[in-house]
Symmetry: C2
Subunit: 294 residues, 2 copies
DNA sequence: TCAAGTGATACCCGGAAGGCATCATGTTTA
DNA sequence: TAAACATGATGCCTTCCGGGTATCACTTGA
């Protein structure tokens, strides 16, 4: 195999068509350059330059090899630069998972901020429930997640993005909308309820159950997505407990009423990541966003 | 700048994820391979592999650098092969000039034969008069020409492709078509004539003047292209002397009559090239077509 | 606690690459 | 026409890079 020095030597001679000047350009003397080219030609197995004692010119083979040599040199010069960019986190791919609920409010502005900080990093977004996010973070398929507790703080580090109250979603025409004060369990004890799935949306389920004495007999639907819940409320199938940011969904025919118990029990959204960080882009992001590391 | 050995070393380690096995694959021992990688990382300015004493894995930077490294190696392996192909004439470009007259008959079959012999050689065709061809062959813009004498046999080598008789082109309805024998100058001494340009088509001009006592007073047009001549004959502007292959043009309203003098004086078409051959594809072509060289 | 596995280090040696001096050859100049 | 010049190739010397062997350092598992 030839060397990059030989390629550089050949390119210089091919451009100058003069061994002396080419050698000068390469900061070396002419004799070793001559031998370099000879060796290169021997390795290639073809004459690249035709030189008589007066003039040097490229052969046909030399002409096309010159193109290849230039391409090689360009590639070789670019490769370390991109590698360094990625190592410093200024470039690369950041795979982010998010729950549908987090997408309403926090995701947009945060992506805005990320692409402001690291414009050359590609963001790969995936909607995943918390459990899938944890799994992805473990296997390394995911760099960062937006999810809700609980998660193992041994393996994951996290940063609280925000808390919000739970509110009650009711159809616009519903009598409760006229009440004008924070609601208690008593106010909707006979209303049909749309509840969170205890498996797919355990966080919300646990929180609501902890917050209010639910009449399980009143539960008419069990769903896992906030959007589905609000749509069902709009269709007058019942009432639902949703985080305050669901107001941003902008679905017609639904109103959101404050809950007395919601003042205390709030839902949290965390950014979380594997403590064993392998992606430099993530390290840079956490540093720049000033998320607590450790 | 890094070396190809370092790249090969890195690729091997990245694929094996094990220094010992990678070294074995490269037919070397493990220690120099370790140093090779260290040196490469230092040159790149980024960590490519993360190794603790138990396992080796790629960093993000290492992953993308691996792709670049593979591309570099592939390019480096291909480059000499193409260079050799071109040097041996099995690939490359062959620039061929031809006169319009030669295009009628010889060009088609010859191109067929060339592309059969050297399928990977690109043929660049240009229609040029003999003088332009000679010029192109001199400057190296042309590799091979199809033209008619005279040309300097010091600089050019040539191969006679074929000879053909001159015939007389006459309008279909012309009385001479009824004659039924070879024509002499006497037969058309009062007819209007379309003659070759003594500058642009000197070969034909000289040949016709040598062959027949032309009444210059009868010359109504002076043109340089055979096709133009035949078209003018079809338009009943006069009679013209053209090579026999002009019959292949298939122009309506023209007949071609044999000339007595045409039996002796024949026009020649030569393949010709610069004796100083720089294009390996041309050398190969001449050898394979068994054209005389020297 | 010890053996096995694995990457890093220390040291030595041979060969490759660069520098200097010079040659061979063709061109220009006096 | 001969001498000076220009230019690529060669011979020889020295330095330095890269590979090999032996060994270390550290981790893991029995």
């Amino acid at each position: 195999m030839f060397t990059f020095d030989q390629l550089a030597g050949f390119i210089a001679v091919a451009e100058e068509l003069h061994f002396g000047r080419a050698a000068e350009r390469l900061n070396m003397t002419q004799p070793p350059l001559s031998r370099q080219i000879q060796k290169l030609e021997k390795i290639i197995g073809a004459e690249l330059l035709e030189r008589d004692n007066r003039r040097v010119e490229l052969t046909s083979a030399g002409e096309t090899f010159l193109e290849e040599a230039r391409r090689l040199m360009a590639l070789a010069e670019r490769a370390p630069v991109t590698a360094r960019r990625i190592a410093s986190g200024r470039s690369g791919v950041l795979r982010i998972g998010f729950t549908a609920a987090s997408g309403f409010s926090i995701l947009g502005p945060l992506l805005e901020e990320i692409s402001g900080i690291m414009p050359d990093v590609d963001i790969d977004l995936q909607e995943l429930v918390t459990r899938e996010q944890l799994n992805g973070l473990l296997t390394g398929e995911l760099d960062l997640g937006f999810a809700r507790p609980p998660f193992d703080s041994e393996t994951f580090d996290s940063h609280l993005l925000y808390r919000e109250s739970m509110v009650l979603a009711v159809p616009s025409s519903h009598p409760l909308t006229l009440l004008g004060r924070d609601l208690t369990a008593e106010d909707f004890k006979d209303e049909p309820l749309i509840m969170h799935s205890p498996t797919q949306a355990r966080y919300f389920y646990d929180l609501v159950v902890r917050m209010l004495p639910i009449q399980h007999a009143n539960v008419v639907h069990t769903v896992s997505q906030i959007l589905t819940m609000v749509s069902l409320v709009a269709a007058k199938r019942g009432l639902a407990f949703v985080p305050h940011s669901a107001t941003l969904l902008g679905i017609k025919g639904v109103e959101f009423l404050p809950l007395e118990a919601g003042r205390e029990e709030q839902v949290e959204l965390h950014a979380l990541w594997n403590r064993r960080i392998t992606n430099p882009a993530l390290a840079r992001l956490l540093r720049d966003l000033e998320f607590a590391m450790e």
